[in-house]
C-alpha cells in the first residue's frame, strides 16, 4: 500500500516543526527519513501514523489513494515501532504481541486458538519464540526491539512506521538488526518508513532516503543519488565527511585553493563566490607533481586502524584537509607524518547559495 503525504506543516507553539513537506512512498518500498535531531522527521512519521495532527491547511495523507488525514490513529491500520519500544511492561512477550488482536471488537476478534497460532508464528519470525513467557524487563535491547516489531506486525498493518528503530542499541546489535530488518522487509514487502539520524543506517537499509533539515525536505532520492549528487550543501555536509573550500568564479574557471578548474556552467557568471566541496576519498595524494592540477600539503596525522587509512593534512596556507585511501595504496606511497605531498581532487562539487550547480570530475 502506497503512502502519500502532501504539503504537511506542523507547529508546536512558536516552533515550526514541519514546513510544507511532501512525501510519496510506493507500495512495498522502504524509505528512510534522515536528518539531525529537531529536523522534524519524527513529527512527520507521527503525523502519518495519526499520533499527531497536521496543521489546518496541510494537504491530504493518503494510504493507497484514500485520504486518512481525518481518521483516528486506531483505524489507520499502521504498525508503529516506538523509539523506546513502549512495550507493555506488565505483560509477557506473548501477551504484548497478542494485545492488538485481543482488543479487537468481538466481531473481528480471532479465536483464542487463532491468536495463539498467529503470535507463535510472529515470535518465530522475530526469533523470540523461546522467550514468549518472559517480561520486557528480562529482555535485552535488541530482543525488546523485535518484540515491538512483532507486536506491530500482529495486526497485519498496511504500512509499517519505525521511529529510530536502532537508536537505543549498541553498535554491534545495531548492525545485526539492520541487516535482519532489511531481509525481513525483502520477505514480507510491507511498505515501511523509518526515522533515523544515522546516515549509514539510512544508506544501508533504505530504497530511498528523504533528507530533512529544520522542518523542510532537502532532497529525496536513492541512497546513491543523495550521496553522489547531493542537491544542497546541507545534504553534502550531512552525508559523510567533506573538505570545504571557498571558491571564486572568474573567466569561465573556478579558482579554489591554488587550483583552477573549467566551469562551463551558465549560471556561474563572474565574478561570483561559490563553495567547493571534496569528499576525503576523492582527494588523490601523490608524492610528486604529476601534471594534474594539484596543490602541496603536509601530512599531520595518520589513522590507519580501519579498512581505509584516514589522513589529516594541512595546506601551505594553513587550512586543514582530510583524505582517505585504501591501505595498500597508502603503503605503496610510503608516506607518513610530516611527508610533503601533492593533493589533487578527483571530483569536486560546487554549490552556489546552498544549491548544487556543478560537479567537476569523475562523478559527473
Amino acid at each position: 500500500m502506497s503512502i502519500e503525504a502532501q504539503r504537511i506543516s506542523k507547529t508546536f507553539g512558536a516552533f515550526r516543526a514541519l514546513q510544507d513537506v511532501s512525501l510519496t512512498v510506493e507500495a512495498g518500498e522502504l524509505v528512510a527519513l534522515l536528518g539531525p535531531s529537531g529536523s522534524g522527521k519524527t513529527t512527520l512519521l507521527r503525523i502519518i501514523a495519526g499520533l499527531e495532527q497536521a496543521d489546518p491547511g496541510s494537504g491530504p495523507i493518503k494510504f493507497h489513494n484514500q485520504d486518512v488525514a481525518h481518521r483516528d490513529v486506531g483505524s489507520r491500520q499502521v504498525g508503529f515501532v516506538f523509539q523506546h519500544y513502549a512495550l507493555f511492561r506488565h505483560m509477557s512477550v506473548f501477551e504484548n504481541v497478542a494485545f492488538g488482536l485481543r482488543v479487537r471488537p468481538r466481531a473481528r476478534r480471532p479465536t483464542k486458538e487463532q491468536i495463539r497460532e498467529k503470535v507463535t508464528k510472529l515470535l518465530k519470525l522475530v526469533q523470540l519464540d523461546v522467550q514468549a513467557h518472559r517480561y520486557p524487563h528480562q529482555l535485552s535491547g535488541g530482543q525488546r526491539q523485535r518484540v515491538a516489531l512483532a507486536r506491530a506486525l500482529a495486526i497485519e498493518p498496511k504500512v509499517l512506521l519505525l521511529d529510530e528503530p536502532f537508536g537505543a542499541l549498541d553498535a554491534r546489535v545495531r548492525q545485526e538488526l539492520r541487516q535482519w530488518l532489511r531481509r525481513l522487509h525483502d520477505e514480507i514487502h510491507l511498505t515501511s518508513v523509518f526515522v533515523t539520524h544515522d546516515q549509514d543506517e539510512a544508506m544501508e537499509l533504505a530504497d530511498r532516503v528523504l533528507v530533512m533539515n529544520e522542518g523542510r525536505v532537502e532532497q529525496i532520492g536513492t541512497p546513491d543519488e543523495v550521496f553522489h549528487n547531493p542537491k544542497t550543501e546541507f545534504v553534502m555536509n550531512f552525508l559523510g565527511q567533506v573538505n570545504q573550500f571557498h571558491g571564486r568564479v572568474e573567466g569561465g574557471k573556478i579558482h579554489f585553493a591554488t587550483l583552477s578548474l573549467d566551469a562551463p556552467h551558465p549560471s556561474l557568471s563572474p565574478p561570483q563566490l561559490v563553495r567547493v566541496f571534496v569528499r576525503p576519498h576523492d582527494l588523490e595524494i601523490e608524492t610528486k607533481r604529476n601534471g594534474h592540477a594539484a596543490f602541496p600539503a603536509v601530512i599531520k596525522r595518520v589513522h590507519s586502524a580501519g579498512p581505509n587509512v584516514r589522513i589529516e593534512l594541512q595546506t601551505d596556507s594553513g587550512e586543514p584537509l582530510q583524505a582517505e585511501m585504501p591501505q595498500d595504496r597508502f603503503r605503496a606511497l610510503a608516506i607518513g607524518v610530516q611527508s610533503q605531498v601533492f593533493v589533487s581532487p578527483r571530483t569536486v562539487k560546487v554549490f552556489d547559495r546552498g544549491q548544487n550547480v556543478f560537479v567537476h570530475g569523475e562523478g559527473i
Partner: protein, 305 residues
C-alpha cells in the same frame, strides 16, 4: 635486576594506593562502634517510649477488667454503632477518593490543559488546612440554623450537619488527596508511550485504561487506598466539628473513644475501642510496607526505561 625492580615498583605502588583509598573510604562512611551503638540505642529507646509502650498500654488498659469485659464493651450498642459509622464513612469515602484520585491523576499526568496547576494546588488543600477548619467549613455551608444551604436542605427534610451525611462529607474532604497524590508521580514517570502504542493497536479508551494504565499503576493505587482508608477510619477533627458527638447516634470510633474517656469515664471501654483502632493501624502498617516495596520496584522500572 633493574628492569625487574622497575617493573615491580608501579605494581607495589598501585596496590599501596588502592589500600589507602579503600581504607579512606571506609573511614569516611563509618562512625566508630560506640557512636553507632549510641545512636541506634537512642532511636530504639525513643521508639519504645513513644510508640511501643503506649501501644502496649492501650491493650493492657483495654484488658484491665478481663477478656470478657473487653468483648462486652466492644459489642455494646454504642460501640457497635460507632464501628458501623466508621465503616460506613470509610466505605463511601475510600471508593470516592479512589475514583477522584484516578481521574485527577490520569488527567494531570497524561494530558495538558488549562487550569492544571490550579487543580494540583487544590488537591493539596485538605493536607494544608487543619481538619477542624474543614469541619467548620461544612458547618458554615450546611448548618440547619445559620448555614448557607442548611435551612433549605432542612426544609426538604435533609440533615447534613449532626447527621450521617455530614460525617461522610467531612471524611471525604480530608481523604480525597491520598490516592491522587500517590498516583500522579507514578503516572508521570511512566509517561504515555504505552498508551500511545495501545492506541495504534486500535484499543479503545476503556481498553487502554483497564488493560494498560490501571495494571501499570496497581501497586501505587493500592498504596493510596490503604493510606486513604487509614485516614478515613481515624479521622477525628473534621468529623468532630460536624457532629455533636452523640454516642450511638453520630459518634464514629475515634469520637466514641473520646466520649467514653472524657465524658463517661469508662476507661476500659474507651481503650477497648481504641485497641481496635490500634490494630487497624498495625494492619495498615504491614500492608503499607508490603505494597511500598512493590511501588518502589514499579517506579524504578518506569525510570529504567
Amino acid at each position: 635486576m633493574f628492569a625487574f625492580g622497575g617493573l615491580t615498583m608501579p605494581a607495589a605502588a598501585g596496590s599501596l594506593v588502592s589500600t589507602a583509598t579503600h581504607g579512606h573510604a571506609e573511614v569516611r562512611v563509618t562512625e566508630p562502634l560506640w557512636l553507632r551503638g549510641l545512636l541506634i540505642g537512642l532511636a530504639l529507646v525513643f521508639l519504645a517510649l513513644f510508640l511501643l509502650v503506649p501501644l502496649l498500654l492501650v491493650f493492657s488498659a483495654a484488658l484491665e477488667n478481663g477478656v470478657k469485659a473487653y468483648f462486652a464493651s466492644l459489642v455494646s450498642p454504642d460501640a457497635l454503632h460507632a464501628i458501623y459509622l466508621t465503616g460506613l464513612a470509610a466505605a463511601v469515602s475510600v471508593p470516592m477518593g479512589t475514583l477522584f484520585g484516578l481521574a485527577a491523576a490520569w488527567s494531570i499526568a497524561k494530558f495538558h490543559f488549562v487550569g492544571k496547576n490550579l487543580l494540583i494546588t487544590l488537591i493539596d488543600l485538605p493536607f494544608s488546612i487543619s481538619p477542624v477548619i474543614a469541619g467548620l467549613l461544612f458547618v458554615i455551608l450546611f448548618s440547619p440554623t445559620h448555614g448557607y444551604f442548611g435551612p433549605w436542605l432542612a426544609g426538604h427534610g435533609i440533615r447534613v450537619i449532626f447527621a450521617i451525611p455530614g460525617i461522610i462529607i467531612a471524611t471525604m474532604f480530608v481523604t480525597f488527596p491520598f490516592v491522587a497524590r500517590e498516583l500522579i508521580p507514578l503516572f508521570e514517570s511512566q509517561g504515555t508511550e504505552e498508551e500511545q502504542a495501545a492506541r495504534v493497536l486500535e484499543a479503545s479508551g476503556w481498553q487502554i485504561f483497564w488493560r494498560i494504565t490501571l495494571p501499570n499503576a496497581k501497586w501505587g493505587l493500592l498504596y493510596g487506598v490503604i493510606l486513604c482508608n487509614a485516614r478515613a477510619m481515624g479521622e477525628f477533627g473534621a468529623v468532630s466539628v460536624v457532629t455533636a458527638r452523640v454516642s450511638g447516634v453520630t459518634n464514629t470510633m475515634p469520637l466514641e473513644v473520646a466520649t467514653l474517656y472524657n465524658d463517661s469515664g469508662c476507661y476500659a471501654a474507651a481503650f477497648a475501642l481504641a485497641s481496635l483502632l490500634a490494630m487497624l493501624g498495625l494492619v495498615t502498617l504491614v500492608a503499607k510496607t508490603f505494597v511500598e516495596w512493590h511501588v518502589a520496584s514499579q517506579l524504578t522500572q518506569a525510570q529504567k526505561r
